[in-house]
Amino acid sequence: MNALGAAPGYRAPATLPLRVELVRQLRRRRTVLTLGFLALLPLLLLIAFTVGRDNRSRGGATLVDLATASGLNFVVFTVFSTANFLLVVVVALFFGDTVASEASWSTLRYLLAAPVPRGRLLRQKAVVAALLSLSALVLLPAVALAVGVLAYGSGDLVSPTGQSLDFATAAGRLALVPAYLAVHLAWVAGLALLLSVSTDAPLGAVGGAVMASILSQILETIEALGNLRDYLPTRFNSTWADLLASPIDWGHLASGAFSGLAYATVFGLAARHHFATKDITS
């Protein structure tokens, strides 16, 4: 026993090590299925492009033409078609489910009574959720790159407005895309975490964060809102494409990063405060 009255060998900073939490999450089928699906998605797209090749409408160039112009373009298309919804769902899933599912299994109270201090529990869980989200954000373009290069070659990246970037430069730029998305989607993470500590229903937390994203995107289409739309968290969803301009246009990227981090900070602090003071009744 030590001065704090703890059992021998107990140290609060040693509780719930990241490795343990990572094992707890990785052993879940949900985690494996999500990551597996993301790895499979580029293959599904490739099959869709191959099967649908003969059924194109006549007329001008299409997004699909551009997507198959090179392996790099295939990566951009893959990210383009997932950034606004699928990746939001994935981040919401990893963060929204993390505390709420423990509550629904009743394991939360035993972890807290172990005791894992509440702030630490939330932090360790957030870090692991962030690791899983980040690996999802990296996995998708990485697999897409491998699939794309095999299927469409290692040609230049051609932007929708006709700019070309050589393979090495473009690959470097593409490596920055997950980094931007990770920072920008932090708002989804924060909101999902807040909902996760506010409800015992994992579905409610995940769905709530996704709904918020959809709502924001709907509001974005209302032109009458004018500049107010700049304050919507999804406003800079597509800004990652600025990383592919030459030279990189950092203006909106910085806005998107700030927007994501600002919302994440507010939601994250609210989550922490709520979790630290709430009565655990699950």
Binding site: N2, L4, P17, Y110, A113, T281
Partner: protein, 925 residues
């Protein structure tokens, strides 16, 4: 009870979700209120301004106008002209935006349109331009307009299409105009409506979009008819086919539409309505905006204006945007550029917009949401002062080809559909207006010749009007045309690797070549193709197609045949304008914001750490006491008091029963002991240390409260291992084997917990609570769901656990269980302590013992005779008596001595009596 609890929980979740939703809405509302500054008050006043009718018009013309006044006056003025077929109302959004910036804005309906009287003179210097000058006079008399000199107001003029030409014509004829911003308009109306892009002489102009501008062009029939229809149809009824056009304008149109070629009179009239006549006089700063999707007034028109303005010495900025009469009115961002232009040149505020050249590169498949055009910024419009435009040469291949024009000029090739867009009315940009017209082009076999390049090795951004030299000869064998000049249409296609063609901008260059020698000898001409901005990818080819027909133009009806070929050294010259990608300014504010967030979070973290350091202090006197609860109270919001002023003490080595009916508050107490629920008041100390959420002292308490909690997808073994790993304590301290022995699950421990029965989970959970051999074991209803042998085993385990020096706290609503397991009891009812002590003390408190005897009547009589004993009740074989401190052994000896057979002495009933007495009679269990 359980369903009630769930209901309460669901309600609570709902309340939390609603609270979060309300918070989001409130935040959004707060942002809305704070971020939208109150728009400065504006006044808009409708006025009718009378202007002289002009030559041949006896009466004054009444112009319907609106004056928009900003809050701060006097202010510089802006004249805002509308597009063809529009009115002052179609520019009201622009007028409001400019007035908000601080300009007095005068928007009026041009004569012949809307509520203004008079007839349409097509921006004639005698009529519409004179009207505009009269409006400047009118502004010169107003005290709310800044005056540079008496009779000379500070005024800018802007407008799109019809209004843009007016802006140029006014500025070219009235020196009082201080700045102008003409948009998507013409330079020479004769060349715009009768274009001829072929020149036998070399074209030497070295600006990017210069056209050949040869005379005697091909009538742009569809567009002209569309425009005529707009204005003629806007008449006040009646059946006059000329509508509100002036007679000479109407006559000119009728002549052109029926003959397909211009007379010198028509050319002269159109020329008078053209800025080309006066643009050489303009020295005011000019922002010239032209559209890249514009088959009515192409880039060549703005190019010609730019050359004239540059020669006159006007400060000039040129913008080509991804839109036009075929592709959408100028966007809000472009209109902001116009506002900035006037801000700087009329009010002297804002940054200098400079004299550069911006062009937008549209996404290859049109402007979609999320794919904005790329804006490229060049230091200057090439070819105006020094550096000429650069060309990239692409070699074309193709043998001489014969093309035929069918009689009547039909069927005809299709390049674009005029009037799909309302851009020319000068209204606000519409979301639907961004459709690309690249896709409609179609050529007909036999009518077209094709010249194709090799696949490009490098991508190229075509920026302006490509040039090519062609040879055209009359085919001798064909039916002899009565006219000896060849009408042809030349287009440039972007051809993808799969052979699909795209016609950038839907643009086509009509040419009229000749006269062609009768003998079939060719004439060589330079053709300036339609000006476009088009990124062509590497691997794509470029194709030049020459056709004999086009639906947009008046094609001669006589059949004809031509041979089209390339001169030996012919190549396609593509204009390119290098520039910098326009970028947003350095994101200083956002980066500072990110830094601020980091600082704020760090500061909060440090404050929290400091707070933690000033934590609780231990009470050394209680260091050996496993648990002291004093004054513990829990009130829930809403007034429910679950626990009130509860105090008790658990000493070392005790097995304490926390006894009470369901709903007595036992579980709430245990949850507070685990640090899960914050007490409203009072405190709990374990081994002298206060118990709070996550207090380190909790590591000495093993707990099992309100059912088991496991990860269902893992085995029992893995659950125990991961749980212990989560405590961060050494694996060797876990005592897993011992705990598993207690759980008694056998091989099932290697199965997923999801497959366990309730009892198995219960035992595994108790095993988990015993991991690390906690000094205090807290168990909530531990025998629930166990069968009798397991209950028996559990009792032995708990007794043995306490015997080793640990302490056990068991909550139960079952008297028998507490009586059999526990040494001490705390009885709770309705959140309050109603009794505490050893089991014996509690029993003694009521002191009732049940004797099972063979002769109850005799026994009762005997017991009544003993000092202090009070017989409560006599049953068939049982006597209940209150012994009041008399040892049971003494009572039994007395009975036996009297010859009464004693079969049993029980206290079970006694504790029940005590319990009922303590908690009140209303408990029905």
């Amino acid at each position: 009870m359980a369903s009630l609890h769930q209901l309460a929980r669901t309600r609570r979740q709902l309340a939390v979700l609603i609270a979060i939703g309300a918070l989001l809405v409130a935040t959004a509302a707060a942002l809305t209120i704070r971020m939208v500054p109150d728009p400065p008050p504006l006044t808009a006043e409708n006025v009718v301004i009378d202007v002289p009718g002009g030559p041949g018009v006896g009466t004054a013309v009444h112009l319907d106008a609106t004056v928009y006044r900003p809050a701060a006056i006097p202010a510089p003025a802006v004249l805002l002209a509308h597009g063809f077929g529009g009115s002052k109302d179609s520019v009201s959004a622009d007028a409001t935006a400019l007035a908000r910036r601080g300009f007095v804005v005068l928007a009026w309906t041009a004569r012949g349109f809307g509520a203004s009287s008079g007839q349409i003179g097509l921006n004639s210097p005698d009529y519409e331009v004179a009207d505009a000058r009269a409006l400047v006079d009118w502004l010169a008399k107003r005290s709310d307009v800044v005056q540079d000199a008496p009779g000379d107001p500070r005024v800018g003029v802007t407008g799109a299409s019809y209004g843009g030409a007016l802006a140029l014509l006014l500025a070219g004829t009235d020196r009082r105009v201080d700045a102008l911003a003409p948009e998507i308009t013409w330079n020479d109306l004769a060349q715009a409506l009768f274009p001829n892009n072929a020149s036998q002489a070399p074209v030497t102009t070295n600006t990017p979009a210069a056209g050949a501008s040869a005379p005697d062009g091909v009538f742009k029939r569809e567009w002209a008819g569309y425009l005529f229809g707009i204005a003629a149809g806007s008449g006040t009824g009646g059946h006059d086919p000329c509508g509100r056009f002036r007679p000479e304008v109407c006559a000119a149109y009728v002549q052109a539409a029926t003959s397909g070629s211009p007379t010198p009179e028509i050319v002269a009239m159109l020329h008078r309505s053209s800025p080309a006549t006066v643009a050489g006089n303009i020295t005011a700063p000019t922002l010239l905006i032209q559209g890249e999707q514009d088959t009515l007034f192409g880039l060549d028109q703005a190019d010609a204006t730019a050359r004239q303005l540059a020669a006159a010495g006007a400060p000039l900025k040129v913008i080509w945007y991804a839109g036009g009469h075929d592709g959408g009115a100028p966007t809000v961002a472009l209109r902001d550029e116009v506002g900035d232009w006037f801000d700087y040149h009329l009010r002297g505020i804002g940054t200098d917009p400079g004299t550069g050249f911006d062009y937008q590169v549209q996404a290859l498949f049109g402007t979609r949401r999320g794919l904005p055009p790329r804006t490229v910024r060049a230091a200057a419009y090439p070819g105006l002062s020094k550096d000429p435009v650069q060309y990239r040469e692409v070699v074309l291949h193709g043998s001489p080809q014969q093309v035929v024009r069918p009689p009547g000029g039909s069927p005809a090739a299709l390049s674009s559909l005029p009037g799909l867009n309302a851009a020319l009315a000068g209204g606000a940009p519409s979301a639907a207006g961004a459709a690309s017209t690249d896709g409609v082009a179609m050529d007909l076999p036999g009518q077209s010749a094709l010249f194709l390049s090799d696949p490009l090795t490098d991508p190229v951004d075509i920026t302006g009007s490509p040039r090519i030299r062609l040879r055209v000869a009359a085919t001798p064998s064909a039916a002899t045309p009565t006219e000896d000049r060849a009408v042809l249409f030349v287009k440039l296609y972007d051809v993808g690797p799969d052979g699909r063609r795209t016609l950038p901008g839907g643009a086509v260059a009509p040419v009229r070549i000749g006269p062609l020698p009768r003998g079939g000898a060719p004439i060589e001409v330079t053709v300036t193709l339609a000006g476009v901005v088009r990124p062509v990818q590497a691997g794509h080819r470029l194709a030049v197609v020459v056709t004999t027909t086009d639906r947009g133009y008046a094609v001669p009806s006589q059949p004809a045949g031509y041979t089209v070929s390339l001169p030996g050294d012919a190549s396609l010259a593509l204009p390119v304008v290098p520039g910098q990608q326009a970028a947003t300014p350095l994101p200083v504010v956002q980066l500072a914001g990110i830094g601020g967030l980091a600082a704020a979070v760090t500061a909060l973290g440090m404050i929290a750490a400091l707070r933690r350091r000033h934590g609780e202090e231990a009470d050394p006197e209680l260091a050996e006491v496993p648990l002291v609860v004093s004054g513990l109270t829990k009130r829930y919001p809403g007034g429910l008091t679950a626990v009130e002023e509860l105090s008790f003490r658990v000493e070392h080595g005790q097995v304490l029963g926390l006894l009470g009916p369901n709903g007595a508050g036992k579980t709430t107490v245990l949850r507070m002991l685990m640090g899960l629920i914050q007490p409203t008041s009072g405190e709990m100390r374990a081994f002298g240390h206060q118990i709070t959420a996550g207090a380190p002292a909790l590591s000495r308490i093993g707990s099992f409260v309100e059912g088991p909690g496991f990860l269902p997808h893992l085995t029992g073994m893995e659950n125990l291992r991961l749980y212990w790993a989560a405590t961060g304590r050494p694996a060797a301290d876990a005592g897993t084997d011992e705990a598993l022995a207690i759980a008694g699950l056998g091989h099932a421990v290697h199965r997923r917990v999801g497959t366990y029965s309730q009892g198995m989970r219960q035992r595994l959970a108790i095993a988990q609570a015993m991991l690390g051999r906690p000094d205090l074991l807290v168990l909530d209803e531990p025998t629930n769901g166990l069968d009798p042998p397991q209950i028996h085993a559990m009792r032995e385990v708990l007794r043995g656990y306490a015997a080793r020096g640990a302490t056990v706290l068991v909550s139960s609503h079952l008297l028998a269980e507490v009586e059999q397991i526990c040494s001490h009891v705390v009885v709770m009812n309705r959140g309050r302590l109603v009794g505490a002590g050893t089991v014996a003390e509690i029993v003694a408190g009521s002191g009732t013992v049940s004797f099972t005897v063979d002769d109850p009547m005799k026994a009762a009589a005997l017991l009544r005779g003993l000092a202090g004993v009070d017989v409560m009740d006599v049953g068939q074989r049982v006597v209940h008596a209150h012994l009041d401190g008399l040892p049971r052994a003494a009572a039994v000896s007395a009975l036996v001595a009297a010859g009464i057979g004693v079969e049993g002495v029980a206290t079970r009933q006694a504790l029940e009596d005590a319990f009922l007495q303590l908690v009140g009679e209303e408990v029905v269990e």
